[in-house]
């Protein structure tokens, strides 16, 4: 069975390592914060100027001056800090953030990503995504394997305007964990009960499959 959003977030949380500074994008990536393993410590960076994002506030305690990059009210953890946008992107551009997790419309098997514009239909703007993908040491994309019409989002090349080139390292979808290698997509894990055949069928590019592909452990 394919994973829901929570499942994708849970699987991505397994990629976190002790001591990581992590930037989580809007949507599914934000959910990853709920599943940080208990035995490790990670600090979440929000590009609007916060290092050390805490949980959402208790009802009645929301502070309009304290939001995340998705404009949701948040809290801080002990040891957090505030700063302006240029310093925030100095952290990102300077390579001080260990991992970036973000959503995508399309990802190519070269690691290109599209996420900010559908010409003639929708323009959200790139926000901080272009800065993040151009600079982060490690980028994981959280996405559904196919779009609303069942078309593959993982392809040989992106048709929509690009956010960045040759930057995505790993994709965690509702069906699979896929690594972006020099030779293209490589299947690492499949969602519980999902067959290799289904993954290959729903991926718009060749996928390297070596040996038995284990199921994700959630």
């Amino acid at each position: 069975m394919s994973l829901d959003k929570i499942g994708i977030a849970k699987r991505i949380a397994q990629e976190l390592k002790d001591g990581y500074y992590v930037n989580l994008g809007i949507g599914i990536p934000t959910l990853v914060a709920n599943f940080v393993p208990e035995n490790i410590e990670v600090v979440l960076q929000s590009e609007n100027g916060l290092l050390g994002i805490g949980p959402f506030p208790e009802k009645g305690n929301a502070d309009p001056d304290l939001i995340n990059a998705g404009k949701q009210t948040v809290t801080t953890i002990p040891g957090s800090s505030f700063f302006d946008s240029s310093l925030s992107f100095a952290m990102i551009r300077g390579g001080h953030v260990d991992l970036t997790v973000l959503g995508a419309f399309e990802v190519s098997d070269k690691g290109d990503i599209s996420s900010w514009k559908i010409p003639g239909k929708m323009v959200k703007g790139m926000g901080g995504a272009m800065d993040l993908v151009a600079a982060a040491k490690n980028i994981i994309v959280a996405t559904t394997h196919t779009d609303r019409h069942g078309q593959p989002k993982l392809k040989t090349s992106c048709d929509l305007p690009l956010t960045g080139v040759n930057c995505v390292k790993k994709i965690v979808s509702d069906l699979a964990v896929i690594e972006v290698t020099d030779k293209g997509f490589k299947l690492l894990e499949r969602a519980p009960g999902v067959s290799v055949e289904e993954i290959l069928e729903k991926t718009g590019a060749p996928v390297i499959v070596e040996g038995d592909i284990p199921e994700m452990k959630l």
Binding site: P64, L66, A69, T73, S85, D131
Partner: protein, 230 residues
């Protein structure tokens, strides 16, 4: 030294049709509400506005967009404003979308007297079209230019008559770099304190960057997405 003006209306004195102004804030967090209202009332038109976002349909910068006072926006994200998206897609509004970190650095550089610099963001995308590029340490970068404006309008938590400013929590965001980049920088503050009361160790924007300051009133501080623990 006393840079205090009475209110927002007085603060925007001298601003003319067709000028460029910057507006601090991220979403609705840390936006100069008083000055936005004064700009709406002023009826100034043909303005170029540099702001990370564009407010929402009925609050913040959205109010200026609705009245078609802005001819060009320079922003990184328009997601939460339907009217902005509509004007963009219909071509009524000229929009320059630039990566958020590049925008922040262009403001900082503009205020710091740095005419241009290289960043990796946007290389290989349409943002990089027509821009000079160069390889550093095996990675391609784009040449980006410092940004300044006729007016920068920022919102701070506390300030004094010398123009020293302290921001609160994530309401700092674009206010601090923009404060540096205005030919005339207007600061509206929630709390205007007597000179000497702010701790010099805690000042984010030294007064040298600010030309006009006033005590704001009736802050609504609207929350875009109130999210609470379940």
């Amino acid at each position: 030294m006393n840079k205090v003006v009475k209110n927002a209306k007085e603060a925007i004195k001298g601003m003319q049709d067709g000028q460029t102004f910057m507006l601090g804030g991220f979403g609705l967090c840390g936006i100069p509400e008083n000055t936005i209202n004064a700009l709406v009332e002023s009826g100034l038109t043909n303005l170029t506005c540099i702001s990370n976002n564009a407010g929402v349909d009925n609050f913040g910068l959205g109010l200026l967009l609705k009245k078609h006072q802005i001819k060009k926006m320079i922003s990184s994200y328009v997601g939460e404003n339907k009217e902005f998206e509509r004007q963009l897609l219909s071509g009524e509004l000229d929009v320059d979308l630039i990566p958020q970190g590049t925008l922040a650095e262009r403001l900082r550089a503009g205020g710091a007297g740095i005419p241009a610099f290289y960043v990796p963001a946007g290389y290989g995308t349409e943002v990089g079209e027509g821009k000079e590029s160069r390889e550093f340490n095996g990675k391609m970068h784009l040449l980006e230019y410092g940004l300044t404006a006729d007016f920068a309008v920022v919102k701070a938590w506390k300030g004094d008559a010398m123009g020293n400013l302290i921001y609160r929590e994530t309401a700092n965001n674009f206010n601090q770099p923009m404060a540096m980049a205005g030919k005339i920088t207007i600061a509206e503050v929630e709390i205007l304190v007597p000179i000497g009361e702010l701790n010099p160790n805690e000042i984010h924007t030294p007064g040298i960057f600010v030309q006009r300051i006033f005590q704001g009133v009736d802050y609504e501080k609207r929350i875009e997405f109130e999210t609470v623990r379940e």
